[in-house]
Amino acid sequence: MSILELRQVSKLFDGIKAVDGVSLSFERGKITGLIGPNGAGKTTLFHLITGFLRPDAGAIYYKGKRIDGWPSWRIASEGIGRLFQDVRVFKQLTVLENVLVAFQNQPDDKPWIAFLSLRWLRNLERENIEKAKYWIQFVGLEGMENVCAEELSYGQQKLLAIARLLAADAETLLLDEPTAGVNIKMIRVILDMIEKLVKEEKKTIVIIEHNMQVIRDVADWVYFMNEGKIISCGPPEEILENKEIRRIYMGIQNFTPIVGR
């Protein structure tokens, strides 16, 4: 069952087709990999899906609704969450505050609430803090709730970003290079988490990765992209064995072995 669908989507930058007539669909409850050399258009595709860029042609559908042209906050509210390549934690907020911001049920867009029932607000906050602590512990950052996000290491910031995404309760997660810059143990943690999210929480996940072992490890289906086009797609073993793809990818492949497999 396809949850996210792109039809003939194109995006031009100064005449260059960053994304060229891309059509693909992402299956609900599955982990789809999006691979390709640098500059292939993968992150641009994420920008298009999440509304940070508008397609010049084509359409994007999420759960049957057409979402291209929507502002990015609205697409996010629909249930598409995103992990950025450059992490983007809220640097001057604490770990706890970072996660608290992400909750979707809070009346944070209604400042006048602050004038009214203080007790109701306090109860809601207490509930949210409990939930936030759960996610912080889930990603392994317990004890660091009151640490300022900018004091965390890169890997820890990534975990925080993941916790934030989980707190936002996004149905569909777009992860842009989730294991880049992270040490091997953390990679294992992140991959286990990804699998758990799909098995237990029934999330749909799309991963952009350069680490082929990660793709081999968790992906159910892979799209290979080059120069803005989808070149081929299929199960990971098939795609990764393909000589043509290896040729295009030569020198960029990363065979970091995963601990425990």
Binding site: L93, L100, V101, D109
Partner: protein, 289 residues
């Protein structure tokens, strides 16, 4: 003694001004140079309704607040579309235009001649006339504003504002309507500034546009920057600093004619030093980005 009360009144008025500017600068990350315009609009609407239409203070205040909210949205909606330097320049442009209108629309505002004879507020039939009574009134009304501002800053709304300040793209990816939050912050900020305007007008019993210039915005901004942005105590510290420093200067017997200039030089130097060494100010949290 009445001088101390005068200082207290000024402190109360300026605390609200600096905390409301802080909501924009420190919490939302919007460096607005238009604050004195909302302060002025609050003063003028209250004044015109009281002097020319005979309204009481409180009804006039309500209209002034609504007027300031409307004006903030007029300023916010175009300006928020702009990034960085352009945004600052746009707010500066609005500040100048609004000042211009106050100064040149003599038919409505009396222009540079100002409006004298502003009555003091009447509460339950009792006119708040003496400086002591007014100081109590001012502290009380400002206190309410400060309390509300404190609640806003501590609420989920305040937290989300800070997130937008730190990274609006990430906030947007979490479903936050950036534009709406910023516009709300603007409206709230303007609303509180207008209360200060009303308090100022009724206290001084006379207003003219020269109290609401760009330099006035810079003065309020100095309080926020020196004291520090991004939390509650920073701007309060800053306000005390900028209001009380002149007294220190007087104590050092610097003549009144040059005192304002010496003061501004000191603020300027202090801000320069702070920006270099401690951008979060004396007591603030947010290191301006």
């Amino acid at each position: 003694m009445s001088y101390i009360l005068h200082l207290l009144i000024l402190l109360s008025i300026y605390s609200v001004l600096s905390l409301s500017l802080n909501l924009l600068v420190g919490y939302t990350g919007l460096f607005s140079l238009a604050h004195a315009a909302f302060y002025g609009i609050g003063a003028y609407i209250t004044t015109l309704l009281m002097v020319k239409a005979g309204w009481g203070f409180f009804p006039a205040l309500v209209v002034a607040i609504l007027g300031a909210i409307l004006l903030s949205l007029i300023v916010a909606i175009p300006s928020l579309r702009l990034r960085g330097d352009y945004f600052v320049l746009a707010t500066l442009g609005f500040q100048t235009i609004i000042f211009y209108i106050l100064y040149n629309w003599v038919g409505l505002t009396n222009g540079p001649y100002g409006i004298p004879g502003i009555p003091r507020p009447k509460f339950l039939g009792f006119e708040i006339n003496s400086i002591f009574a007014y100081s109590v009134f001012s502290i009380f009304l400002s206190g309410i504003c400060l309390l509300l501002l404190w609640r806003i800053c501590m609420s989920p709304f305040g937290r989300t504002l800070k997130a937008i300040r730190d990274d609006e793209i990430a906030a947007s990816a979490l479903g936050k309507n950036i534009y709406r939050f910023k516009a709300l912050a603007f409206a709230l900020s303007g609303a509180f500034a207008s209360v200060s305007g009303a308090l100022f007008a009724s206290y001084m019993r006379y207003i003219d546009p020269t109290s609401f210039t760009l330099m006035e915005t810079v003065f309020i901004l100095s309080a926020v920057l020196i004291g520090g942005a991004g939390n509650i105590k920073g701007p309060i510290i800053g306000t005390m600093f900028v209001i009380l420093l002149p007294e220190v200067l007087r104590f050092l017997q610097i003549p009144d004619t040059i005192a304002p200039n010496v003061r501004q030089i000191l603020y300027g130097l202090l801000i320069l030093i702070l920006m270099r060494l401690r951008p979060q100010g004396l007591g603030g949290e947010y290191k301006l980005q």
